[in-house]
């Protein structure tokens, strides 16, 4: 039987190889009857069109391996891959699992070499800004294998907003911020010969080198010399190696010197005095930080006298609160104010705040829909809340709803089970529902009932605040 000759295009001809495999498998041609040739003259390939044979079903792993190995520069790559395909289709479907098989091993080494070259291209390409162009960059690079197309997505994903060109001896590519175009092989002269940041970069490279750890072998293993000529920083290497020993000796010989400056005692003292001392200072810190949740136009701070006896902690500001920059001014806040009044609590004397200081919402059309903060988000705000309470030093802290309980204790607790007096972190506390819960109830009867229960809670809160909590002398019996 005569040898069957397959001619493929120069470079990584994945389509050509795929077509050839379909044809060869359809004709049941074993690898020993096939030779693969590569047509090095581009353009001459053409009229020898092969009819499409039916697709061949191969395991995903094999297909992935083929995609990588066709990029290898070894002319034998197609023959080796066809041997692999042939064996996989003829009784050794799991052949790739036998990593110790000589063919699998060899192809795996080739794939690894291609992946490494790709990785090194992603790492070692150095763009230079093109003269007279604001945001246009070009680079010259010499890959070992035919990896230009395989390397492209990385650069597009990363430098989407730049206009860049990569020139290589095996082809070129340009991204113009919208589309990628491949072009013919290029020469080094077509790339810019310098960039204004290269000297700074070389200076950086020199400075991060530690002469006491000099180890050129380890460097060359990861950054082989063949890449050096296209990397501006490598010009520093010989000098760095040469002077390393001397630099270290000097450091070792140099005796410890007395500090030239006096000990900056006052600065050190001041350094530890960073804690906010007033609510105003704390609020300034919160405002400067900006939201830790998505949404929110401004921070909504707590409100009330600095040393209020009762602190009410809600969940987070709502739409109205966010716009006005004040807590409890929306519908739920109004309901709370009404209930407080009925229970005999002077709103002006209480301190009202929220666990989360920003309105987290989702935009739906023109409406901003309240989005419940996650446990993690509540905890982001916790250090501020703790500081706030530390500054107010209340006698009693009231948690309105589950989020407040989570914020105050660090643990999620259902309201139904914990309603009433409770220890909230270091504070004597009381747990009740959030007034917005009352607003959400569907029918009037339950609403009224729930409101009464809420009112009862507020009356007890009022009484508790009057009592001496430390001696436990309560006007009402504790549960």
């Amino acid at each position: 039987m005569s040898l069957h000759r397959i001619t493929l295009k120069a470079g990584a001809d994945l389509n050509g190889f795929r077509k050839a495999v379909r044809q060869l498998v359809a004709e049941e041609l074993a690898p020993q009857h096939v030779v693969f040739a590569i047509d090095d003259a581009p353009g001459l390939f053409g009229d020898e069109t092969v009819a499409d044979a039916p697709p061949v079903s191969i395991p995903k792993g094999v297909a992935r391996l083929i995609e990588q190995v066709v990029c290898h520069h070894d002319p034998e790559r197609y023959a080796l891959l066809y041997q692999l395909v042939w064996r996989v289709l003829n009784g050794e479907r799991d052949l790739l699992e036998v990593a110790s098989d000589p063919l699998v091993h060899r192809i795996d080494l080739m794939a690894r070499s291609v992946r490494r070259d790709l990785h090194k291209m992603h790492a070692f390409v150095r763009f230079r800004r093109m003269q007279g162009e604001l945001e246009r960059f070009a680079a010259w690079f010499e890959p070992e294998h035919y990896i230009l197309e395989a390397a492209a997505p990385f650069f597009v994903d990363r430098f989407r907003s730049l206009d860049w060109t990569i020139l290589t001896p095996i082809g070129s590519m340009r991204w113009d911020r919208a589309a990628l175009a491949f072009g013919p092989p290029a020469s080094r002269e077509e790339a810019p010969d310098g960039d204004s940041f290269e000297e700074g970069w070389r200076g950086y490279y020199e400075s991060v080198f530690n002469p006491a750890r000099v180890n050129p072998t380890a460097m060359r293993a990861e950054m082989p010399k063949k890449y050096w000529r296209n990397m501006p920083e490598t010009a520093a290497i010989p000098g760095l190696i040469q002077t390393a020993a001397q630099r270290v000796e000097r450091m070792i010989e140099q005796e410890a010197t007395m500090p030239a400056k006096r000990t900056p005692e006052r600065a050190i003292q001041a350094m530890w005095d960073q804690e906010p001392k007033t609510l105003k200072e704390l609020n300034a810190i919160i405002a400067k930080a900006g939201p830790l949740v998505p949404g929110a136009t401004q921070a909504v701070f707590g409100e009330g006298p600095q040393h209020a006896e009762i602190v009410f902690v809600g969940e987070q500001p709502g739409d109205q609160e966010d716009l006005q920059g004040r807590p409890f001014v929306g519908p739920a806040g109004k309901l709370l104010a009404k209930a407080m009044k009925e229970a005999g609590i002077d709103r002006e004397k209480a301190y009202l705040t929220n666990a989360v200081k920003h309105f987290k919402f989702e935009q739906r059309g023109h409406r901003r829909i309240h989005a419940k903060p996650t446990a993690g988000e509540v905890k982001h705000y916790r250090p501020w809340l703790m500081k706030e309470l530390e500054l107010v030093k209340p006698k009693l802290v009231v948690a309105l709803g589950a989020t407040a309980v989570l914020a105050l204790t660090g643990k999620a607790t259902p309201i139904t089970r914990s309603r009433g007096r409770a220890q909230l972190g270091p504070y004597q506390g009381y747990i009740t529902v959030h007034p917005s819960y009352l607003l959400r109830l569907p029918d009037e009867a339950t609403k009224r009932e729930a409101y009464e229960a809420f009112l009862d809670d507020l009356r007890r809160i009022h009484d508790l605040a009057q009592a001496d909590l430390d001696t436990g002398e309560l006007p009402l019996a504790a549960e």
Partner: protein, 404 residues
Amino acid sequence: MDEKLSKKLRILADAAKYDASCSSSGAPKRKADVGGLGSTVGTGICHAYTPDGRCVSLLKILLTNYCLFDCAYCVNRRSSNVKRAKFSVDEVVTLTVEFYKRNYIEGLFLSSGIIRSPDYTMEQMILVAKKLRRDHGFRGYIHLKTIPEASPWLIEEAGLWADRLSINLELPTERSLEQLAPEKDGASIETAMAQMFERIEEAREERRHFSPAGQTTQMIVGADESTDADVLRTSAKLYGHYDMRRVYYSAFSPIPDSSAILPLKSPPLMRESRLYQADWLLRYYGFDVDEIASSGEKGMLDLDVDPKLAWALKNRHRFPVDVNRAEREMLLRVPGLGARAVDKIVVARRHTMLRLEDVARLTSGLKRAKPFLVTTDHHPKARLDKLDLRERLIEKPEQLSLFA
């Protein structure tokens, strides 16, 4: 790039280089938005290597090397006479963006000396990250060093902008910290690590961004009297309690204008390298600290052979191991067989019986493995018990330091 900025960059890169951490790994894969800049790839990329063999992945700099702390091992301690400089927030942002556009770096690793106050310093660092993300649509990698003495809310903020946070423990015991780093306090370091750990876990569960590449730390080796066992015990605790992604070990190295309380000598590079190997055994090979410590003497690892080989030499009764039959756990204990080679062996032997030449294709450590394993055509027999086995397996030291 103007000369003043270049000069500052030299000073503040030099000052940052004693931090061994270089990785840009672990961030979720991201791509640049339209008009934005930057992406992340899971494993990170090393864009260059310096002649010490170390990877240059991130622009690793200090915001400033002025510092009010006086840690004896640190080149930037307040009593050191090194040259000082300070970047503005905008300068760091510009450097990061311009270096990134030229494909020099994966992103930024920002640390700082403590100036004015821990809070002030931390706020400035967060501001850099925020500006990169918000003003430049920067989606590359950001690693921020956390200052444990800063207020807790700053950690909450930092993780929203950074891919990785880290606090360097620097010294493995509280006693050494007291001696060499008078302003530092082990308890506040651990509190901050615990806070980061909790937030990182919660955010992962809630699918939100908060330091998605986790946290890391570093310990200096050779500046104090701690043994390798001390160091590894601390590491095991850090991995266990705070889910550290990496503990870096940094051989204490001569620094310009060093402190009088630390005698200068060549950095213990071999010790550092053995600690990394032991660390690997701890995390991926099912060893515990006591087993590793028992492979050496008096809490110090054997410098001549790697810790797995050292353990095997002291536990010869557990060998030889049959590659065609042994459990994965035991294969992992064979010197010269890495976790990947073991996985390949386990899969391949479902289809075939392995000979020695097959194993040779799966590992580059066959020389070390051979006395400890059995294949269809190989058995070490009495060779395993020979007294000179250790001597024969000692690798000729490569050029590891100038002082060898």
